[in-house]
């Protein structure tokens, strides 16, 4: 049996298919390796090695992805999705950096993990008991002398998810050897809040109950840092609104002077109490009265034990923002205001940086960066922001800073800013170094925009073919004569293009051949983004629609038509946008929710049909003047998993219902793409007879799942007839069941558990549909050019041939490559979430007619059929992503390019990846191996050779004649 596997690999090696050429990798593809929007409390500069001075930028995004970014160029050094894969609405996550030990400790869900700061490898991890979630993570400040060479210990607070669990505060050894001590608190209810803080000697455990019995006091339990024994307990008066990091009462824990800080909504004073005092007293800090309603207050402090005990309050008013700097008196436990930073109308972001014995505060606004010392209000440095894109309203939402003092009065500031628009950028002394488009990680819907406007040459050609031949010919001659005007400049450019074949010019030449494809993306953050899908994913425009989208609504469908993008929202509203620049043209409010949208032909324009959650379609209000054509059927899937067919004309009528068995629900449905051209309607067999393909645009594949059973229905959508069914048992619940349909075949994948061996295997099933099992037979309809689905002889079921292959890892989504005329063979594109890759499986391998248990006959071999092997190895050569790690891809889109051989691929979900593939090799374009210079040189050399040999040849002829 082993030989078969080897043979199958050898056979696949012989196939002339490659996903990509080695010299095309990194040239025709692009990849935005994203983290998601960085969280303010889990983002910092940190030196991964004590020996070097270079620091890296670490963050945990709100999609729970931990990553390290090189601050020099913004490239991603490593990343680790803490939840296994990027998640939306991730629960709170924590990140602390070990001091001097090159480690980064993250806390998310139930896992505390320690990562090597330099390469992102997991050093150790620790799981908190079941039923609890990590709700606080703190590095214990290094105290004493003997701890210098040991990794810092970590303090973890796990709060209960339900009433049976306890809150546990534990100190974990920094070398991963487990807990040093634990403090259990069974009194904490899941609804109360708890937080921790640590000073060099003590650990403070702060709880406050919420709800009806809420008191205005927080309970502070002081524990001994080394033993975990309770050293004291007190209660401190706090206000309702905690102001600390991540909405906690306590803050500044990493600085050695942890304090509680809170305020009442809208009040102009802040309650402050220093925890290191044995009896914390509450100090009220009165904020400067600017005659302003205060909307929000945030605290900024330096995270350094040796740094002075200063902190900054950033106050956001209705119209202006300012900051107040306070100095803490550690002895008395009080805090006094040192100075005020002026209020500006521009939105600001503040960052506090501790550097040795001083603390710097950086204020970043839309237009400038100002550096202050915590001691006094004098500006240490001020830089205008330059080279920013001139887009108004892009103000930084939060920022972290790194301040380097160069001599006495000279400073350098690096700011990592997260802007409102989702960009994460680094500003060095006011100058923009790089920008990472982190908002692309939130894209959940996409549509291809139309190609750029009609080509002038194509228009001329159309004109010539429409008039009579003579006029057309005259027009053509005239056109060529006018073209001659540009001949001199063209001739001048020829040597240059031959000599200079820079990669840049190659890329431009390729772009001209492939054409331009723009993709319009809609994100969960209510933004529309347009990317150039053929040109390295370059940004075209970005529009924030959040002012047009009511809260709770989301984008459901984007339809691009005549240069306009129609965005349909889940509340039924419609936003029309200029597809070339992203300007909002029109906004129509909604008339009832919609779960889906379909467009059917109508007069004079296509009619949009909205589908409600129960599967009922109704014509959209914006196309009230449009009458859908009669005789069309719309297929909808309701939320409870039934399929409906509706005849849509003047009225809407239900024609059929497909209700799966009890407990079974249709979870997914696929049909052929709108643009799915078929070059040949039959498959030529080895003996040159034809197996006719069953080609119908009206077939759909419905995937129904019960608890562990999977049923696939192939239906004729007009009549509702079930053409083919297949059932699979023992499906692993919760796994993806992607499917794709094209031409006369469909493929789907599922993960099942073998009942005998308990082994889990992922299978990829391919099924091909033919008119008849007999070659040269077109079925009862024969060679008729059209047919009605309701005619007597139209109801013949297709002949289905299917084969299943076991693949080494699960597939989360499937797609198929598309070309303009369908001549090129297709590739099945599959997302592999386990290896973070996209693989293009050639249809030659994934063929349902491969002979089983025997070698192919001569005629089958002529067809290119190989012997069937149950194992389908995913050849690394077929990985479209080659060396790139593409994380969290949810959908792959394919679109034809101007070249028949090439299909444009775009994938999104978390990372954004795009490439161009040629499944039948690039048969219509010269490869990179073609050397223009060599060709020109050869021609020149031949010409020179002929010239040189001419006198010789003439002499020989003459002499030969004389010799006769």
């Amino acid at each position: 049996m082993r030989w078969y596997g080897v043979l199958s690999i050898l056979a696949s090696l012989l196939l002339p298919t490659r996903a990509i050429f080695a010299d095309d990798a990194f040239h025709i593809d692009y990849h935005h390796a994203l983290l998601g929007s960085p969280q303010a409390h889990a983002t910092f500069f940190h030196k991964p090695q004590t020996s070097t001075n270079a620091s890296l930028l670490y963050t945990i995004s709100d999609k729970a992805v931990l990553g390290a970014v090189n601050p020099k160029d913004g490239s991603l050094l490593w990343r680790q999705p803490l939840a296994g894969r990027p998640v939306n609405n991730a629960s709170s996550s924590f990140l602390v950096a070990g001091e001097r030990d090159g480690q980064i400790i993250s806390g998310y869900g139930r896992t505390v993990a320690c990562w090597d700061a330099l390469n992102g490898r997991l050093v150790w991890d620790y799981t908190v008991p079941e039923g609890t979630t990590i709700h606080g993570l703190q590095a214990i400040p290094v105290g004493g002398s003997n701890t210098n060479d040991l990794p810092q210990d970590i303090l973890v607070l796990a709060t209960p998810d339900h009433s049976n669990a306890h809150a546990i505060l534990s100190r974990i050894a920094g070398d991963g050897s487990g807990t040093r001590w634990e403090h259990k608190d069974s009194s904490l209810s899941p609804s109360s809040s708890a937080s921790i803080a640590a000073s060099s000697q003590h650990v403070y455990y702060i709880t406050k109950s919420h709800g009806l019995l809420a008191s205005s006091k927080a309970k502070v339990v002081t524990l001994d840092g080394t033993t975990g024994h309770e050293a004291g307990q007190t209660s401190v008066a706090v206000d309702s609104d905690p102001l600390g990091d991540g909405g906690e009462y306590s803050t500044a824990s990493c600085s050695g002077f942890p304090f509680l800080i809170s305020a009442d909504k809208g009040s102009k004073s802040v309650k402050f109490s220093l925890l290191t005092n044995p009896n914390p007293k509450v100090v009220g800090l009165t904020l400067d009265d600017k005659g302003e309603d205060i909307e929000d207050i945030t605290v900024h402090h330096a995270c350094d034990v040796t740094a002075p005990t200063h902190f900054l309050l950033h106050i956001r008013g209705k119209t202006c923002q300012w900051a107040e700097i306070y100095h803490v008196d550690v002895k008395s436990g009080g805090a006094t205001r040192a100075y005020l930073l002026p209020a500006t109308e521009e939105k600001s972001a503040f960052a506090a940086t501790g550097s040795g014995s001083s603390v710097y505060f950086t204020r970043s606004t839309e237009s400038e960066v100002i550096l202050y010392s915590s001691e006094s209000h004098g500006q240490l440095g001020r830089w205008q922001k330059t080279s920013f894109r001139a887009t108004p309203g892009i103000s930084p939402s939060h920022t972290v800073a790194e301040v380097v003092s160069k001599g006495k009065a000279s400073f350098a500031v690096r700011l990592a800013e997260t802007s409102q628009s989702g960009n994460w950028s680094l500003v060095r002394n006011g100058e923009l170094l790089w920008t990472r488009p982190e908002m692309l990680a939130y894209v959940n819907i996409a549509a291809w925009a139309e190609d750029a406007g009609p080509d002038a040459l194509a228009e001329e050609l159309d004109l010539e073919s429409s008039v009579n031949p003579l006029t057309g010919y005259i027009h053509r001659v005239k056109r060529h004569l006018t073209d001659l005007v540009s001949l001199p400049s063209y001739l001048q450019g020829v040597p240059e293009t031959i000599v200079k074949s820079s990669p840049e010019s190659d890329a431009i030449a390729r772009r001209n051949l492939v054409g331009t494809k723009t993709v319009i993306l809609g994100s969960r953050r209510h933004e529309l983004i347009a990317l150039d899908a053929t040109n390295a994913g370059v940004f075209q425009w970005q529009t924030d629609l959040s002012s047009h989208i009511s809260p709770g609504a989301e984008m459901k469908s984007i339809v691009v038509d005549e240069g306009r993008a129609h965005v349909y929202l889940s509340d039924g509203a419609l936003i029309v946008i200029n597809a070339s620049n992203g300007k909002v043209i029109e906004h129509q409010s909604g008339h009832g929710p919609l779960s889906n949208l379909v467009r059917i032909p109508g007069g004079p324009a296509p009619a949009a049909i909205k589908v409600e959650a129960d599967g009922t379609p109704r014509p959209a209000e914006d196309s009230a003047a449009v009458h859908p054509l009669e005789g069309n059927t719309v297929v909808t899937i309701s939320d409870d998993g039934k399929a409906f067919g509706w005849a849509i004309g003047q009225s809407v009528e239900k024609t059929w219902v497909l209700e799966p068995r009890d407990g079974t629900k249709i979870i997914n449905a696929v049909a052929r793409a709108e643009h799915d051209p078929v070059a040949s309607i039959g498959k030529v067999l080895g003996d040159r007879s034809v197996l006719y393909k069953y080609l119908s645009p009206n077939v759909a594949l419905l995937i129904a799942e019960s608890h562990s059973d999977l049923t696939i229905y192939l239906i004729d959508a007009v009549t509702g007839a079930v053409l083919h069914t297949s059932t699979h048992q023992a499906i692993v619940p919760g796994t993806d069941i992607p499917a794709v349909m094209s031409e006369n075949w469909y493929a789907y994948s599922f993960t099942s558990r073998d009942p005998a061996t308990e082994g889990i295997a992922t299978q990829l099933v391919i099924a091909e549909l033919y008119e008849s099992s007999i070659p040269n037979d077109r079925g009862p309809l024969g060679s008729r050019t059209n047919f009605s689905e309701f005619s007597v002889d139209a109801g013949v079921r297709p002949h289905v041939i299917s084969q299943a292959f076991t693949i080494p890892e699960p597939i989360s989504s499937l797609a198929v490559s598309q070309t303009a005329q369908g001549i090129t063979t297709r590739q099945v594109l599959a997302t592999l979430p386990n290896s973070n890759a996209i693989v293009g499986i050639p249809r030659e391998i994934l063929d349902a007619r491969r002979p089983v248990d025997r070698d192919p006959t001569a005629s089958e071999r002529e067809e290119g059929l190989m012997r069937y092997f149950a194992n389908l190895e995913l050849d690394p050569k077929h990985f479209l992503t080659h060396a790139r790690e593409v994380v969290g891809v949810r959908k792959i889109m394919a679109s034809p390019s101007l070249l028949e051989s090439t299909s444009v691929i775009f994938a999104f979900g978390h990372d954004v990846f795009g490439t161009q593939i040629a499944p039948s090799l690039a048969f219509d374009v010269l490869g990179k191996g073609f050397n223009k210079g060599q060709l020109a040189l050869t021609v020149v050399a031949l010409f020179a050779g002929v010239l040189a040999l001419r006198p010789l040849a003439r002499k020989k002829t003459v002499e030969g004649r004389w010799g006769q």
């Binding site: 819907i445 996409a446 549509a447 459901k556 469908s557 984007i558 889906n596 949208l597 379909v598 467009r599 059917i600 032909p601 049909i609 589908v611 379609p617 005789g631 069309n632 059927t633 719309v634 297929v635 909808t636 899937i637 067919g645 449905a669 696929v670 049909a671 078929v678 040949s680 309607i681 039959g682 030529v684 067999l685 003996d687 040159r688 007879s689 034809v690 080609l695 119908s696 645009p697 009206n698 759909a700 959508a717 007009v718 070659p775 040269n776 309809l781 060679s783 008729r784 050019t785 059209n786 047919f787 009605s788 689905e789 309701f790």
Partner: protein, 184 residues
Amino acid sequence: MVAPQPKWVLELNSGLPAKSKHATSIPDPPGLSASKPMTGKQAKKSQAAGRKIPTTEETETLKLKKAWEVALAPAKQLPMQAIMGYMSGNSLQIFSIMMVFMLFKNPIQAISQTNLAFSRFESPGTRSQMLGIKAVYVLMQCLLLGLGIYKVNSMGLLPTTRSDWLAWETERQPLERAYFAFGQ
């Protein structure tokens, strides 16, 4: 008046001269049929038999025979061509393509030059039978042509199968269309 015949004519007509006495012991060179000097009546008689001028009928029979040989010559080529065809294989290579080209070129050329090939044997007496012979000749060339066609067919160059006409068959269009609201 008849001019006196030259000497060499007389010598030729009188046959070999009588051998001298002492020359009789020398054997004749091998292959010399007239080992003995022919003399008198016997010599005269045998000379008359060897030089007899064939009659027109005889020449015509001979011509017909020759014509038949020419007409049937292509048939003799047939087995050789078949073997060559078999040996060259059915793949499209320069050798097999050239061979097929010759298989077509030669018979067609020969058929177009039928009259030329038989002009040597043309005479008023044979004309009636010649037509049949020419017909056989053309038939034989057609056999060769048939071999060529068979060869082309076995090379797969003749549009004889369904797949050769597949490009002219079109997809059936359904009168009703379904549209799917399966989401993006």
